[in-house]
């Protein structure tokens, strides 16, 4: 058998073409993102589009985020109390809950939930518009679909994400308070004062906000691009929607590591 026909060659060849395809997709999506950012000026004029998208992307995800935040905060309070009481450090529960939420769980979990609910919805919506030629029709009517359809959705996601992460963290802290102080008897004063002493605005809150902005950008970018790039069949749309959730999850967790290392690594 010639080398070109051997199975080893085939493996490498597949790997190579996959890599090239991935790079090409990355390039396409970057150009796509640039075109979206060029549409920000038009969006400022037609804020009505942005508001409608903020509703469907942000407001409708609110309930999911709030309930999840509540339960995550309560579990943190419960689990944290159990672990800390081994060291006699129950009074530091406030710091533990708040730090976990603000630094990590708030941005990350709300971004994952956002990707699952709003991201997949965006991909499906845009994908269907591709399949039914609505975007093509818009182009022929001399309306740029990127400015009219894609950009409002992107910026709505970008704005919603930090707000949702903050809501998640806030409700989580309150959930931890409810369990820790209300149910388990941690001292209320200690809960809040240790928290306020232990968390720094710049290092913790602001970093958490930066994380959620980065996540919002990446998740929404993936969502709208997968929708726009989809193969125009129903199967293509369903695959694109799945890809959005999976790729968003990978991106969030990988970026979280990188950002955490950058922000908190030197402490």
């Amino acid at each position: 058998m010639k080398f070109e026909e051997s199975p080893i060659f085939a493996i490498f060849e597949r790997l190579g073409s996959k890599a090239i395809g991935t790079l090409e997709k990355l390039g396409r999506s970057s150009l796509f993102l640039m075109r979206i950012f060029c549409g920000v000026f038009e969006l400022l004029r037609r804020s009505g589009l942005l508001i409608v998208q903020l509703y469907s992307v942000g407001v409708l995800t609110f309930l999911l985020i709030a309930i999840s935040g509540l339960f995550v905060g309560m579990v943190l309070g419960l689990q944290g109390y159990t672990i800390l009481s081994d060291f006699g450090a129950e009074q530091t529960l406030g710091v533990m809950v708040a730090a976990s939420l603000v630094r990590e769980l708030g941005p990350v979990v709300s971004a994952l939930l956002f990707a699952g609910r709003a991201g997949s919805a965006l991909t499906a919506e845009i994908g269907i518009m591709i399949v039914t030629e609505q975007l093509s029709g818009m182009e022929m009517m001399a309306v740029d679909p990127i400015k009219r359809i894609i950009a409002p959705r992107f910026f709505a996601g970008l704005i919603s994400m930090p707000l949702l992460a903050a809501i998640f963290s806030m409700i989580g802290v309150l959930g931890g308070y409810f369990v820790g102080v209300g149910l388990l008897g941690v001292d209320e004063g200690a809960f809040w004062s240790q928290m306020q002493a232990g968390l720094d605005f710049r290092e913790d809150i602001l970093n958490g906000v930066i994380k959620s902005v980065v996540f919002g950008c990446v998740v929404t970018w993936i969502a709208v691009f997968e929708g726009y790039d989809t193969v125009p069949t129903s199967e293509g749309v369903s695959r694109a929607t799945t890809r959005t959730v999976v790729h968003s999850a990978f991106a969030i967790l990988a970026l979280d590591f990188v950002l955490t290392a950058l922000m908190f690594g030197n402490l």
């Binding site: 609110f62 720094d200 605005f201 809150i205």
Partner: protein
Amino acid sequence: MLHSKSVAFFVGLFVFVGICALFFLAMQVSNLSSFNDRESYHLIAKFENIGGLKVRSPITVSGVRIGRISNISYDKNNYEAIVEMRIDAEYDTFPTDTSASIFTAGLLGEQYISLNVGSEDEFLAPGDELELNQSALVLEEIIGKFLFSRAEERASP
């Protein structure tokens, strides 16, 4: 947009709640309320061992926090750690023989600097150095001393 009025209302509500959440986190959860660019001045203290002291660790006197560590560096000529302290400007009446000690908050807590007020008449000026500072207690050294003293006790009848 059939119900654009209610859409706008809910969006406004959502953004409002989000901003409130950020505010809550800033105020209630972090130390923003005590974070202000009060006027301050710098003092230096050198230690043989700073233990787990970090930049932004608190500096207290009589248990009250009056400042934070702004910089930690190393003097390679005298083989000592140089700690730069940022003290609130309103606390400017420390005698020149004030010294600094490194203590630990609680058993396993973070480490901080506590100032021991001296008795001289003159006060420390910005940039002055504190003398005779007590370094951090290193756990291994304490255990070593303890074991050594126990061994001595055993040895001498």
